[in-house]
């Protein structure tokens, strides 16, 4: 049975933990709004870009002269997994879920006899995958100094990836990130970026009916745009990840705050009971002392 003082200390400590988690939740909520705004702002570009690219890819894709970024190297022996996670923890299952998806994917590829290379973005994912696939790491991008993810960050990652592709280091690249659905739901997602695959937009038929003139030529435009497409997809993924991270942290901290509250209630009841027990036993002692006189 803990003494009254122990209980009191315990209550105080849980109270200060609750203050911290509450503060983190509010910070995450503010950051989430910003992250959602930037994800929102980036959407028109990505959508338009994909619409144009899928049109181009359709008309050029079948030909033999299609760029390697679109058609692939003709093999899928070496796979590059780009695992994007957060730089910080305390955000529920966010990092763990992405890492788990990447590990499952890697295990499947290894079982198929493929060569797996892993590029990590964000420290937490690196730590999580290190134990199982540490010897597959080919690089790491540190974004811990970046306050707000910009297109330039995506560009430098894309440049790194493209340099490796040109050097023939891998055949297929897949990015892993968490898609932001809402504050409580973030879906870990794997998306293949090299060779490029473009989803058919739902109004695909309408887009097809417009015949564009291409200047300089379809091939030249495609060659110019494909590397940008890689950067755009990485950028979109980074932004989704940013929003997901804050959303996950917000709900994790909300839970933590609630749990701390419950714990305080429980401890307070226990504290009051023990205090009452002490008072009662003191009274009994006084009364029995008085009777004895």
């Amino acid at each position: 049975m803990p003494s009254l003082k122990d209980l009191k200390n315990r209550i105080e400590s849980v109270k200060s933990t609750r203050k911290i988690t509450k503060a983190m939740q509010m910070v995450a909520a503010a950051k989430l709004r910003r992250a959602q705004e930037s994800a929102e702002a980036a959407r028109p570009y990505a959508e338009r870009f994909n619409a144009v690219m899928s049109g181009l890819a359709q008309s050029v894709g079948g030909s033999d002269s299609a760029p390697r970024l679109l058609a692939g190297t003709g093999s899928d022996q070496t796979q590059l997994l780009i695992v994007m996670t957060a730089e910080r923890g305390l955000c529920g299952g966010f990092n763990g879920n992405i890492a788990k998806l990447a590990k499952t994917h890697a295990a499947k590829l290894v079982a198929e006899g493929k060569t797996v290379k892993i590029l990590t973005v964000g420290k937490k994912g690196r730590d999580a995958i290190k134990r199982d696939y540490g010897d597959h790491f080919v690089g790491h991008v540190d974004l811990s100094d970046v306050k707000r993810v910009g297109y330039a960050d995506a560009q430098s990652i894309a440049k790194d990836v493209l340099t490796r592709f040109d050097a023939g280091e891998f055949d297929v690249a897949t990015i892993f990130f968490a898609e932001f659905v809402n504050v409580v739901t973030q879906v870990p997602t794997a998306k293949q970026i090299i060779p490029a695959s473009f989803e058919q937009s739902e109004d695909g038929d309408a887009a097809e009916s417009t015949l564009y003139d291409y200047e300089p030529s379809e091939e030249a435009i495609l060659a110019d745009l494909l590397p940008r497409g890689v950067a755009t997809q990485i950028f979109t993924a980074l932004l989704e990840n940013g929003a997901s991270e804050q959303g996950a942290r917000m709900s994790a901290m909300d839970n933590a705050t609630r749990n701390a509250g419950e714990m305080i209630d429980k401890l307070t009841i226990e504290f009051n009971r023990s205090r009452q027990a002490v008072i009662t036993s003191e009274l009994i002692e006084i009364i029995s002392g008085a009777e004895a006189l």
């Binding site: 570009y45 417009t210 015949l211 003139d213 200047e215 435009i221 745009l225």
Partner: protein
């Protein structure tokens, strides 16, 4: 015949402009072109240069560094890699862009060096045009 069209300028990070325009001058990779309402559908890549938009409330100019433009009879959309209003461009920004491009050009392999050098020249032309 419509005498105005929708004009959108978007960069990866934000939407810079979405207005009704009568005339848009685009720095295309193969030369400047002006898109007006009912222009035939064209997709062109951009070179670094100045994009001029004429609309109901006058003319505005934007510095763009590459990307592409999609022209349809009813709308012109410019997807620029980096874009900013011309009056916001400072000498520092341009100098940095030129430095980056020059460095990229000096590291470029032989088959793309011409293109990289052209990029540097285009950037310098952009600086001259903006007068910063």
């Amino acid at each position: 015949m419509a005498d105005t069209m929708q004009f959108d300028l978007v960069s990866p990070e934000r939407k810079l402009a979405s207005v009704t325009a009568t005339e848009v001058q685009i720095p295309g990779a193969d030369g400047d072109m002006t898109a007006m309402p009912d222009h035939a559908p064209v997709i062109t890549t951009l070179r670094p240069g100045v994009l001029t938009v004429t609309g109901a409330d006058g003319t505005s100019r934007y510095a763009v560094t590459g990307g592409f433009a999609e022209v349809t009879p009813a709308a012109t959309s410019v997807l620029a890699e980096r874009a900013m209003p011309a009056e916001e461009v400072t000498a520092d920004v341009i100098t940095q862009l030129i430095a980056d491009a020059t460095e990229a050009a000096s590291n470029a392999p032989d088959d793309t060096r011409d293109a990289a050098n052209k990029l540097v020249a285009d950037m310098e032309a952009l600086r001259a045009e903006l007068g910063v």
